[in-house]
């Protein structure tokens, strides 16, 4: 699926995947899609909670090559 920017959080532990996802979204425009890759299993729940609390839309959450991959649409 199309995305405008990618942030690879592989190897990072809580809370950095979320903290840096927030930073990555900062210079994006509303409606653009950020792809986040993570290896922290906690990021599955965290990314959902992040989206719910910030208003960004979590378009998808899955795994690819044993990594977690998320698509976030900026609010």
């Amino acid at each position: 699926m199309h995305f405008d920017k990618e942030f690879d959080a592989s190897g990072l532990a809580c809370p950095m995947p979320i903290v840096k996802t927030k930073k990555s979204l900062a210079d994006m425009s509303s409606g653009q899609v950020l792809r986040v890759i993570a290896t922290d299993p906690g990021s599955v729940c965290d990314m959902q909670a992040f989206a719910e609390q910030t208003g960004h839309t979590l378009l998808s959450s899955g795994t690819e090559n044993s990594k977690y991959v998320f698509l976030l649409k900026k609010a």
Partner: protein, 156 residues
């Protein structure tokens, strides 16, 4: 919708206890929360320019995993605290856990307000030059003002 607010009192200066306030503050800020952390007693260590003295002790810490079972008498030997600290820091680095310095910078970049407890700053003879820039100095009343409006208030 008004931003949620979190108020934290950070009272501990050991490595393991230094993490929770900084992790929660940086995360809440990333979620758009307004956050203030009031550092008092040993928590003031987290505001020092140099964080390299922050350590973890195996003494009186039966839950700390050790590579080999270690009697208290051995854990009390000179150098054991430094060893435990360097082992813990190495493990954290390997597992991708951010450093205290990094978490603290993230907090400051995302407008988390740090307040140093003036009473304990004076008690321990600290001076402002011991601490990082961009922090405020105040007392319990300063904290209570914000804590009274907060959605989450933690004592760590």
């Amino acid at each position: 919708m008004a931003a949620k607010k979190m108020a934290i009192i950070a009272t501990k200066g050991a490595l393991d206890m230094a993490y929770p306030p900084l992790i929660l503050a940086s995360t809440a800020a990333a979620l758009g929360w307004e956050v203030q952390v009031f550092f008092t007693f040993y928590g003031l260590q987290l505001l020092r320019k140099d964080l390299s003295g922050i350590a973890i002790s195996p003494i009186g810490n039966p839950a700390m995993p050790m590579p080999v079972p270690m009697p208290v008498m051995v854990a009390a030997l000179p150098g054991m605290e430094a060893m435990a600290t360097s082992m813990m820091k190495a493990k954290m680095k390997k597992k991708g856990v951010a450093s205290l310095e990094e978490l603290r910078s993230v907090c400051q970049e995302s407008d988390v307000k740090f307040i140093a407890c003036q009473m304990t700053v004076d008690l321990f003879d600290f001076t402002k030059s011991d601490f990082i820039d961009g922090i405020e100095y105040g007392g319990a009343a300063t904290f209570m003002k914000f804590a009274g409006e907060s959605d989450v208030c933690l004592f760590i």
